[in-house]
Structure formats: C-alpha cells, structure tokens
Amino acid sequence: MAANEITATRLIPQAPHRRLLHGDLGGRILLGILAAMIVVVPVLNLMVPADSPFHVSTYAVTLMGRYLCFALLALALDLVWGYCGILSLGHGAFFALGGYAMGMYLMRQIGDRGVYGDPVLPDFMVFLGWEKLPWFWYGFDHFWFAALMVLAVPGLLGFVFGWLAFRSRVTGVYLSIISQAMTYALMLAFFRNEMGFGGNNGLTDFKDILGFSISAPGTRVALFMASGLALGASYLICRTIVRSRLGRVVTAVRDAEPRTRSLGYRTDRYKLWVWTVSAMLSGLAGALYVPQVGIINPSEFSPLNSIEAVVWVAVGGRGTLYGAALGGALVNYAQTLLTAWLAELWLFVLGALFVAVTLFFPRGLVGLLRRRGDGS
C-alpha cells in the first residue's frame, strides 16, 4: 500500500524499467534453473563415473534436451495464443519444418557412408532411382545455410499463411481450423516419395553434426546445452517483445481488436509479426529436437502433435511465458513416466488433463502456484 501512496503524488512513475526481468520472478527462476542445468548436467554426465549414484546417463541427458525443445515450442505457441489470442492448432508444422531443415543437413553429412555409398545422394534417392539432387537440397551441405533455413522456411510459411489469414480477417475458431488444415496438408505432402523428403520413412541414420559423431556422449551433452541456451535466449526475446509497446498492442488486439484498429493500429500487421516470430522459434525448437532423436518423419506434422502443444501451454499457464515453458517440459516428463506402464492410456490422460485444467485451473500450474503464494 505504501507504494500506492507514493505514486499518488506523481502519477506516472512507470518509467520503463531497463531491466528486462524486473518483476518477473517466474522468469528468473526459469532462467536460473536452466543455467544450473546447463552447468551441472554435463558435469554429472561426463565427469562423474558411471557407477556413482550422481551420474546422469547420456540417455537421460538427451531426454532432458528433448524436453527443453518442447518447452521452446510451448513458449513460441504461448506468444501467439496467450498474448495475441490466436489459437494455433498447427504449430507442429513449423516445428517439423525446422526439423526437416536440420535433417537435410544431417543427411548430407552422411556422404558416402550410406548403404548405397553415393557421395552426394541420400540413400532414399538412390533407392528411388534418382540421378541427381533436387534443387531444394542444394546448400544443405553447409551448416550455416541449414541454420538459416531452420528459421527462414518456417518463418516464410508463417508469413504467407498469416498474411493471407490476418489480412482477410480470419479469426477465432476458423483460424484454428485452417492452421490445423495446414499442418495436415503438409503431412500428406511429406508422406509422398516424389516430394523428395524421404516419404514416410523421413530422414534418419544420421552420422555426425559439424564433424562430431551424433551418438557420442560429448555431442549429446553439447546438443542438450544448445537446447538450454536456445530456450533461455528465446525466453529473453519473447520477454522483450511482450514488455515492449508492441507487446501491449498485441495484448490489446487479443482483448479488443476492433478498438485497437480504431486507434489507428493496423492490427493485421501486428498479428503477422508475432505469428512469424513464433513460427521461427518453433522451427528452432524442431531443429534442435531432430539431432537428439535421430529421425524426422512426416508424423511430426500430425495434427495431434499441434494439439498436444496447446495442452502443454494450457497446463503450464497460458499468458505467462515461463508457465508455458514449464508446461512443455513437465507434461512431456509426465508422459515419459506414464508411458512406461500405460502407453495406450496416455492420450486419455492428456485429454483428461486438458479438461481438468480448462475447468478448474484456467491459469494452469502457474496460476495454482500463484494462488498458493497469495494465500500464505
């Protein structure tokens, strides 16, 4: 209350705090945990002997790396859903495209070590009897090019999709449906062998990345660390966005779009901007995911994946960036635990979780924790 009395004298002390994380306790905790993990996990894996109880297996490291990728996808989804009110049921498409871009690089790194030993063509192309590399595979032998495409391809798809949708004022459930249709259409397309992405087998049998063996513990640890760094950096990017005036406009669009337009803002451009940024971050998540699981195939485009991502965000706490990231990691951790003994039931559990969260904890886990905090 004392703070209020002080502000009464000077009404607008809201000098924008230069510190990005001012008042963002959840964000600090998230970044703190990330930083600790990035330091501790590699030590426990590489330096602690395997028979010690403190040893973290390479398998576990990779598992955690994957959770971090899902957390990044959830973060990206929350940026458009939680802050801009656009419920995307197709974010898995951006994730998968980023994954394919990385997969193409990894395929070309195989070189003549494939089954057919062709120095340039990946195995599946030789198998299909193709003579030369399709034009869209050019450049993917360079890491920098692939890294660029990891952001550019999902970004471009997001831009074109968003441009068409937002300009013609497609909103609400219609937008959700067409985003779902987009990822479904891509899945069907990528299943086809003629597309040149390995058909239903996808891309796999990767050998190395940047010259390091992809299965070596050191590489696994490095990929885990890269995922952690990417999540942390993306968190800061998203936080910068939502704290800026741009972020306030975007939230205004979520709450009252016609009003925002009548203030002179071209709301479609704001939506397009965050949508495209979110697509690129999703692509980054997919690109880090693929070398850790060792395969990318069209099932990554499955509509179910996109819907699952929505559940993660809802469970974690829609509209809080750290909540979404938490949801992405925790729900997947729960899935790993559960699938060990009731694999078939997982989807039901997930569905029940979603219903429960929507009905009882509309603000997700984060809302629950906050309420606890306020009560004490």
């Binding site: 009404l11 005036r245 741009l246 306030r248 939230t251 203030l263």
Partner: protein
C-alpha cells in the same frame, strides 16, 4: 461480392480506377476554410435491402459541438461507422475537410488523420492499466517496428498526466482498466480519444449507465472540449442533450428529420410525432 459484381465494378464507365487518381496525402493537412470539417452527402447504407442510412446529408462545422438524437435504429451509430470507415456506403460522399475523401481511406488511416471515436458499448483494454490504455491511444507512429522500440518520453508522460486530470481519473491511473466502474470506463474512453489528438471526436452515447453526478461531469468535459475539437455526440438522454447542446440534429429512418436548437427541434411537430409514435 461475387466475381461477376467485381467485374462489373471494373467495367464501370462513370469513374476511373483508383490507381489513376492522384494519391491523397494525409500530410497535406485538413482544409476547413469553407467552414465544415465533415461533409456527408447523400450517404446510403443498406443491410440486406434495409436502408439504415437513406440519402443522409449532414455537415459538421469546425470546432462545433453537435448533438445527434433519434429513436433506436435511426442510423446514428451507422453514420459514425461510415465516417470512421467501418462501413462502406452504397453511394454518397464523405469528406474530412475539403481534401480528404473518407471513402478512399481505411479505418486506420482515418483514425490517424484525426477522427477519434468512442463506441456505444464502452471498450477499453481491460488487462492494461489506465495509463497504458492512454499510452496506447497517444498520437504517434503506429508501425510494428517502431512499437518494438517505443519508449514513453517525458513529454508523453506529461500528456498522460494532464489527460488523466482532465477525465478525473487521476487517482485510478495504475488500476487495471477492467476494474473501473462503468462510468469511469466511459471517461477513460473519452480520455483515449483525447490522447489521439483528433480534430473530430465522435462520441456515441457517453452517459449511458451514468449517475446524475457523473453525467454533469461528462457534460462539463464535453463542452470544454468543443472549440479545441469538433465534437459530435449521439445521446438518448434528453436532459443531458439539453444541458450541452447548441445545435441538434434529429435522425429518423436514416435521414435528417430536423435540425436546429433544442427548443426549435422539440417543438417541431414531426419530431414530436416520431418520438411519441414509438
């Protein structure tokens, strides 16, 4: 519009393509030398054959405070929709000053050119604080990239301060707008209008749901604004209209039924008939 209609539109011989016409530039500024700041001429809007506006002709002078009354469904809000570019008329002309053709501008361009609007149903941004609502409305660049790096300047802060003072929300600056009372939301919306620094304020039913006390303050506020801005007020509350009006226009079935001072209008037999006939 079907493609057939579109083609017909393209083939019309009584007008040239937009791209051949000289581009109009907002920066050329307003020209109000001839008096009116808003011109509506023969504006017709129909919804599925029903004429919400029927050859409406109306002029608003620079700096005047005009009240528009009329029974429900008379077309008052639709008229504001036409001026702000939310609804395109079937035919007719709408000009802002002498130079700006409102029918060739979209909603955001019109807002930036200096026409602000308060909607009939008060809409503020509920999850933003009051000061943030005002900040969003503040005149200035509206581009995405400039919003990313935008910072509130000292000048902007002073402006927000003075508007807060003017709309009587000085104490509530840091509250969430969604938490305000109905009357306070109406004021906040008027405040947001002021932040836009508009030449014309279109105010749709500003005192709906207000107590008498609040109404008096609103009347005072609106009269204070006239002169600096042109103010068009749509209101049902006759007592309120009487307290602020100099010039009153009565709309009925999408057209002007009568115009004049409050007394003249109220003694007009046609107006009496329309209101009693309800």
């Amino acid at each position: 519009m079907s493609w057939l209609e579109t083609t017909r539109e393209v083939m019309r011989r009584d007008q040239v393509f937009d791209l051949v016409r000289p581009a109009q530039s907002v920066s050329a500024g307003l020209d109000t030398r001839h008096g009116p700041i808003l011109y509506l001429e023969d504006v017709t809007v129909s919804f599925d054959g029903f004429r919400a506006l029927d050859e409406l002709t109306l002029y608003i002078d620079d700096g005047e405070l005009r009240c528009i009354i009329g029974p429900n469904g008379a077309g008052k809000s639709t008229m504001m929709d036409v001026i702000t570019g939310r609804t395109r008329p079937d035919h007719g002309a709408a000009w802002f000053g002498q130079r700006l053709d409102l029918l060739r501008m979209d909603e955001t361009e019109i807002a930036r050119a200096g026409i602000g609007r308060k909607f009939q149903k008060p809409t503020v941004f509920p999850n933003h604080r009051v000061v943030e609502n005002l900040e969003l409305a503040m005149a200035g660049p509206r581009g995405v990239w400039s919003a990313l790096g935008a910072r509130l300047t000292g000048e902007g802060r002073d402006r927000i301060d003075s508007v807060l003072e003017e709309i009587g929300l000085g104490e509530a600056g840091h509250e969430l707008a969604g938490k305000l009372s109905h009357g306070q939301k109406q004021w906040l919306e008027i405040g947001m209008l002021l932040m836009q620094n508009p030449r014309v304020l279109l105010v749709d039913e500003p005192v709906a749901g207000m107590t008498h006390q609040e109404m008096d303050r609103t009347a005072e506020l609106l009269t204070r604004l006239a002169g600096r801005h042109s103010v068009v007020v749509v209101e049902h509350d006759m007592e309120f209209v009487r307290s602020i009006a100099r010039q009153v226009t009565v709309l009925h079935q999408g057209a002007v039924l009568a115009e004049g001072s409050m007394d003249e209008v109220q003694s007009d037999p046609r107006v009496v008939e329309v209101y009693l006939g309800e």
